[in-house]
Amino acid sequence: MKKLINDPLKVADELVEGLVEAYNGDCKHVGARSIVKTDIPDGKVALLIGGGSGHEPIYHGLVGKNLADGAACGDIFAAPPPNIVLEATEAVDRGKGVLFLYGNYAGDVMNFDLGAELADDEDIDVRTVLIWDDVCSAAPDMKKNRRGIAGLVPIVKLVGAASQSAASLDELEAFATKASLQTRSVGVSMSPGSIPATGKPTFEIDDDVIGLGMGIHGEPGVGEIPMKPADELTPEMLDLIFEDFAKDEEVEALAEGDEVIVLVNSLGATTMMELLIVLRKVKELLTARGIKVYDVMVGPFVTCQEMAGISVSLTRLDDELKAAWDLPCQSVCYSKMEGRNGG
């Protein structure tokens, strides 16, 4: 795969420099590889996100107006080191503490935890809420072992909105925990992306199969299933989500009258055309169950280079989450006007 880059080892640094330019002054580059908003008000409870690079527009693309205050960026597919986490934490802190909100991957947890320890040495109050929305990566009773995938986007959107008015770190932590708990995703992979530095594929998969529940780096999921039409695959994906809401004691089953945010995400090379064809079926299946669509997100939000594949995420909303959703937001990854589509 031809890639428009310069030094393959400087890709992560250069893309973050470009990201700062995309914000055109609303964000600045901090420390080794962090991006932070320029106008965080004093006394704001801060929201810090982050993770490995190479999955753009997340993670760092979710810094923005009514979104995250900053992001600690790792190298390609690698967690940000603790010193970078510390630099970002110090830059976003306004005396009310900092919420770490990121996807549940071993490397990220270890590095963010070390960063939190370093921040603690600086007397900065840090809490962590992990995102583990990928229902195919562990059973419901082991859900804290699950990976974080595209569900991160609606979660950060909601928590970012809540952080604008959160009275305390406790309050924001509780809100984020609820948003994370109510978000579940299922992903499928069709072909790998390539590693920028080597050009090598991130994993192998046969032409006639789909990796059901496979992770965005090729991590194992439910297993391989035959390639099939969108209208046959979509129900299988949604059933896994419905099943998970039903089996998990910590949440109610999805029921008639529930309102959800629907996210249909492309992992990179899968086209908007395909996402829309899948969305069409998702809407049909939700309507059949009497589940209301509060708003829709569709596009490439969580990618792995030119990987082909999609994920479907549902976030169940209550009135508090709806109010947070309705806030407008602006970022490289996701922007919206006040309100919602169809509102």
Binding site: P81, P82, A106, M110, L114, G218, E219
Partner: protein
Amino acid sequence: MAHQTLSIEQTRDMMIAVAKKIIESEPILTDADRALGDGDHGVGMERGMTAVVEALDGADFPTVGKVMMAVGKAMMSTMGGASGALFGTFFRAGGKALGDAEALDGEGVAAFFPAASDALMERGGAKPGDKTMVDATAPAAEAASSVSGLSVADALKAVAEAAEAGKEASKDLVATMGRAKTLGEKSVGKPDAGAVSVAIITATMAEFAAS
């Protein structure tokens, strides 16, 4: 002749020698991680140890513990990924355990490895048998617990032999943690990349102390 103890400067030079040895071993580590993991361990360790050399070369330290903590900080802040946090934790915790000692002796070795290995297990959640670097650090810590009476040379020799044995034993284990693709049974027969790093690190420390 073998050292009874190592001064702060000698400890620093020992860790510089360790760093250079790892940098030189990059291909071995890359192969090991490519076989079982995502193939970036060699490059990561090279990046981390290059930073270690920069941090230690010509620098003065108040205690031997601070030397080790500097090693941990350099690795932690440049490697990224799981292993950066893990090696950072390993050397920082071990260094803290050395208190304000101004020389490294058998007692120091006996204090360093158990503290370092425990902190590593605490951080990563892996236990012996999970086919991780823990399978080299845990035996090393075990061996270290009975060397407080020995010279630093003999103490590190015992630790290195245990780490080497642990690395070899890791070949028979089934990989389970911290990898993009979990290979399960397929991983049997090959050593864990992190365990290989630990074996090289301890062997180089022992060599230095013996010379």
